[in-house]
Symmetry: C2
Subunit: 112 residues, 2 copies
DNA sequence: CAACCATATGAGTGTATGCTCATATTTAGT
DNA sequence: ACTAAATATGAGCATACACTCATATGGTTG
């Protein structure tokens, strides 16, 4: 059982860095597009309506963070979500945001 | 049951924004310091060895994101973790990083 | 090898934001 | 009211990084 000891400075940096990788809408869109299986760059470019250069850079960032895996097949490169904690992570955050939006909606109701 | 439908552009922005708030070592340090109960600004400044101005700004960011709660008592302002999903979130990320570091350590072992 | 795909990357630009200094604001005590 | 303490904030600077354009790289086919 790993109990909550104080994280070292270096550990905090790593955790922050991981959150930073997930702090871009385009990267989240890519991750989301890959939830139902691997896709190559062209497919992702089409799905996300981004430029090829930009998508390629984001894929590199996600791969360097060990969030995506890379598989080369001929001319194409296929990416897939390789970190099993990512779905859970997104789920938790989405839940928190839904609750927050619901709360705000309630305020609008009662305060006009 | 909320099944994984594609998130809207706006939802992605919100999720990314939430991750961004957690993507700063100093803010993580503050959150960590608050895991064992509320503390006022002076206490947090002492614990984190940051400047008062900087800590105050980070606390504002975290409060605006509904991650921390604020309670005023006389001259002091007490902050506490108000979002129950935060511990789980940090736990998941820490776990992922531990695994990643373990994998890297193994590579060092076998490749010398 | 030449031409052509799919993907990656160097360079430059604009924007966002973390940090600091100085000062403002709020509240308590005399 | 005056002073002092705790916290917040305006302004400026430096850095990080997302985006784009043009071009490079790697791999396939004729």
């Amino acid at each position: 059982m790993t109990k909550h000891r104080a994280l070292s400075e270096e550990a905090l940096r790593l955790v922050a860095q991981r959150f930073a990788v997930l702090a871009e809408p385009m990267r989240l869109r890519l991750i989301q597009a890959l939830f139902d299986g691997e896709k190559n760059v062209s497919q992702l470019v089409a799905l996300t309506a981004g430029t090829q250069a930009n998508i390629s850079r984001h894929l590199q960032t996600l791969t360097a963070a060990h969030i995506l895996g890379r598989r080369k097949e001929g001319l194409q490169v296929y990416y897939s979500v390789s970190d099993p904690t990512i779905p859970k992570l997104c789920e938790v955050v989405c839940g928190a945001i839904e609750k927050q939006l619901a709360r705000q909606a309630k305020h609008f109701e009662s305060q006009g």
